[in-house]
């Protein structure tokens, strides 16, 4: 298609966005920022590191790339307003792949209410995506990582761990059943649920600004894993955080995906064989990244709507080294039944 053809084709497929004054096609875009500030985040996504062309259709890769950056905007309590997309791709990729990517980007930008206002394309041997998301705070102060206070409750707005479960099925070759099930078997409903979660997370962006209005003291989106991301809040806020394992949402689909993995994979030596399945599902919930759920801390008297589930409490910093995050009062050392195998 050539660079200009690609840009024109992509530009025609993406939303403009209500605040866009100048979109794709000039030296730079111009976006209205009526509230006097702009929120901005960039993410780089590389083929075979962040996605695989044989594991995800182009549409899902585009949608997930948009979601990753837009979730960062939501985690500040802001509304996503615009994306700028850098795309490097092999010339041999079919045009339909590129338009699929653009359609996925467009769909996710539209879910968040954002326009795609700028881009750059280049040839490369592998696919690289750079997504910059811009957002608006509507005059509210941003919700930072550093505002959690002892006594606050910790709450999450969505399920966790499904993306990690989907990745585990893909990595183990179990997404479509094992060879013993026959070739090209349809994924089970549970497998389909976690595969979809891995390929195309759909964050509830509106919960970010809503959390800010509810008085959230700190917030982050779960991109590295619940414990790791709570660790960022604990570190930035100078507090400890304890998570109650029994309060964590573990969906039926996630439990079923854990059973698929456990039935087919060798047991790790560190796994407690008596309760392997729930260990695996819990491990995904505690450590799985890329779900892009929002986890926030709120003053204890906050009247949280039902989409927020309290999963822990903020405590004074123990002063001990470590991440500052515990599960049921103790450091989490679980690895999941499949972890040993995956790392080998």
């Amino acid at each position: 298609m050539g660079e200009w053809g690609i840009i024109a084709a992509l530009a025609a497929r993406v939303p403009t966005g209500p605040l866009t004054e100048i979109g794709i096609g000039d030296d730079a875009a111009v976006l209205a920022t009526p509230s006097g500030s702009v929120v901005a985040a960039v993410d780089l996504l590389l083929e075979n590191r962040h996605f695989r062309l044989d594991w995800s259709p182009a549409y899902d890769i585009g949608a997930k790339a948009a979601a990753r950056s837009l979730a960062d905007i939501a985690a500040m309590g802001a509304v996503g307003t615009a994306l700028l997309v850098g795309l490097a791709a092999p010339p041999a990729l079919p045009a339909g792949w590129l338009t699929g990517l653009a359609d996925g980007l467009a769909a996710e930008a539209a879910r968040a209410g954002a326009g795609v206002i700028g881009g750059d394309t280049s040839r490369a041997d592998t696919v690289t995506l750079s997504v910059t998301a811009l957002g608006d705070l509507a005059g509210r102060p941003p919700v930072r990582r550093s505002g959690a206070r002892p006594g606050d409750v910790v709450a999450v707005n969505d399920h966790l761990g499904a993306s990690a479960a989907g990745l585990a099925l893909l990595t183990a070759g179990l997404a479509y059943g094992s060879a013993a099930d026959g070739p090209a078997a349809e994924p089970s409903p549970a497998a389909a649920y976690v595969l979809e979660a891995h390929r195309r997370p759909q964050p509830s962006y509106e919960d970010g600004p809503a959390a800010a209005r509810l008085g959230a003291t700190a917030m982050i989106d779960v991109s590295d894993g619940l414990l790791a991301d709570l660790g960022h809040i604990a570190s930035a806020s100078g507090v400890s955080i304890d998570v109650a394992a029994s309060a964590l949402p573990i969906s039926i689909g996630l439990r079923e995906a854990a059973r698929i993995v456990e039935a087919k994979m060798p047991r790790s030596s560190v796994t407690d064989a008596a309760d392997t399945t729930s260990d695996t599902a819990l491990h995904w919930v505690l450590t799985g990244g890329e779900d892009h759920a929002l986890v926030a801390t709120f003053p204890p008297a906050t009247d949280l709507p039902s989409n927020w589930r309290v999963i822990g409490t903020v405590q004074s910093s123990t002063g001990h080294p470590g991440t500052g995050v515990t599960v049921d009062g103790a450091p989490y050392a679980g690895t999941g039944g499949w972890e040993h195998f995956r790392d080998s």
Copy 2:
């Protein structure tokens, strides 16, 4: 260093920027936009396509990456306020290379008055940079590509062609003298000038907002080459543009670099042997990209300061197919004395 170590090391070396409310270290940055809009552009830069690690030190790669995006902001008539940088790099790159890159980015951001407010890092087999620049119009309307009107003058604020000359010397292996000159010869002053121009263009960013205040009707930075970029203005504005070859600034250093190439390279069959050297220099000026000079159109009565040199005129569209840009009244068909060789 690990991802967090890299981010921390880079964050410590880059300027914050006067409008930065939240910089590197949270889910997203927050930048003040007191004038009610933000200008934004993204560029993707790939190793072995946009730069080579054996041709440029890390500092220059960082500085040039910043310049490329900041020049887009200046070309809208805006002041650069912030950069967000995505960096993928092989883990084996020495830490000094990464800090060199950060120092170059920092220096160029500081030249423009911008902060580095966000970033993302990843491992990859080759170096990839994504630079998003944000800018501020201070309440002025943006200077678009589409505003040139018949009768306007075309003016450029800096020399052109030096980056292409430097690239030609590097491509031909003539940067440090030919093998006949002995090994590791120092580059001649002319070669050093064009090599520096290629490795580290230093756009005069302040000329962008100044051109807007002077009443520029259209503007672009010379990233693809003067004729190509004037073609973007001609196309967007629905006009033709004629460039006067005799008015183009051709520096002594560029003429000397042309002599170096012509003395060592086989002559192309299309070159007029009687005036090869000036053909080569003129070709670089007309077609060489990456100088990031600004070229703008102004109403004819504009009292232009001395840093702007008038090089052509805007005319009614001829309606003929083509780029809409002529040199001395005719389509430019020159190729430079080295072009044939370079393309072989």
